[in-house]
């Protein structure tokens, strides 16, 4: 028997059902109607939030819609009124995520001092690891699976963005303001070292006994990651002011 493909969802069953177009339609009605629209949107985002929390830990298949519904405090069938099916919900969560995801990298420009820019970026990413660890985890889960749903976006949006930022880095290197480094690898190192504290939080906790929620540990982490990436560890220099 030839080896089969492991994922079987997302391909077969498209129902389409005029999928819950609840928002996006808002005519000129009374203020009561506006209130109702907001309620609907609140509910949608409550569901999305609950879904993010669960999907990011247990994945698409490890999570049941019942669980999402319970956590969002709605009934299962009610949830399925807002999202035609489980996958649509999953994709919605993922889509919301992506923009949040790309944001920090955007504010990274050639005019900045390289050292300051990178230090700030590390801090910003660690703030996300602390405050939105589930976003980081879900992103990681998708990557591990081969990003079936983000592959296109990766190949386009993210690639363009990273290519652009790579040029910034390359220029810094050319100006001698940064040690010679292949921009892509630097970007990977920045991502890896910062997201690690979200994705491997259990391990960090098991080994250090602390989490980023502990302010002292958070600052220690920021400082150490900055020092490692900016100054390296080989020199006996003190790293200078960070």
């Amino acid at each position: 028997m030839p080896a089969p493909i492991a994922r079987k969802t997302l391909a077969g069953k498209k129902k389409d059902k005029a999928l819950a177009a609840a928002p996006a339609r808002r005519a000129a009605r009374g203020p009561a109607a506006g209130r109702r629209v907001r309620q609907v949107e609140d509910k949608r985002s409550a569901i999305l939030g609950a879904a993010l929390g669960l999907f990011s830990r247990y994945g698409l298949h490890g999570t049941t819609v019942d669980q999402v519904a319970a956590r969002a405090a709605v009934s299962k069938s009610n949830l399925l009124y807002y999202f035609a099916n489980k996958e649509e919900l999953y994709v919605s969560v993922l889509r919301d995520l992506l923009e949040v995801w790309l944001a920090p990298l955007r504010s990274f420009s050639a005019e900045q001092d390289p050292r300051a820019a990178i230090a700030a970026y590390i801090r910003a990413k660690l703030v996300i690891s602390r405050d939105r660890p589930d976003a980081s985890r879900l992103f990681c889960l998708e990557m591990i699976q081969g990003a079936p749903l983000l592959r296109d976006e990766l190949a386009r949006e993210l690639r363009d963005l990273v290519d652009h930022k790579s040029e910034v880095i390359r220029a810094w290197v050319a100006d001698g303001r940064l040690a010679p480094v292949e921009p892509h690898h630097l970007v990977f190192a920045l991502w890896a070292t910062t997201q690690h504290y979200a994705d491997f939080a259990v391990q960090v906790q098991a080994l250090t006994g602390r989490t980023l929620d502990d302010p002292a540990f958070f600052e220690q982490t920021v400082e150490n990651v900055q020092r490692i990436v900016l100054d390296g560890i080989a020199a006996q220099a003190d790293g200078g002011p960070v």
Copy 2:
């Protein structure tokens, strides 16, 4: 309704079934019996290999035993003869993994030159990322889920090992042979930067167009990660011989 726990396996249904003690019993029989024992063990490891490949991409719940069986070229019920149930299979895979996992860190001792030791460790981990990316991914998946199955091992074995290696690092720092760095954070940085190339391989591929299987890219990666961690990127120093 109170928020439920998302994982429902691994707790409820223990069957125990005198679980497939096929190996480990080998009396004095003819050479034919020995051959048969080997066949059994080959089959077991074929199943374990297939399982690793699938679990590491799609997780426990995203993989069906049918798929594992198909990839290992056995029937589902035959598979369930060797492993009492899906979870036992999963745990077996994970257990095999852990030792492989800890190995590189062990060969890391105070006598070595810090720079050389760390450079070698980075290379060793990148070799694993290249040659056993599924091991890396499965480990990552477990971590993201909160390591329900490894938590104990993490708290014991890994912790002891890391604590010990931390002392090595701390000594290097005390001797001025390493810049001041909190050992745990250095270890995290080493893990993160190297495993990233396995866990986020799709992203690496999408952004660079290459993989670690490309020898030139592999060497470029080793060199860049070593440079970043050892020398940092801020200085305009050329990084010296690595």
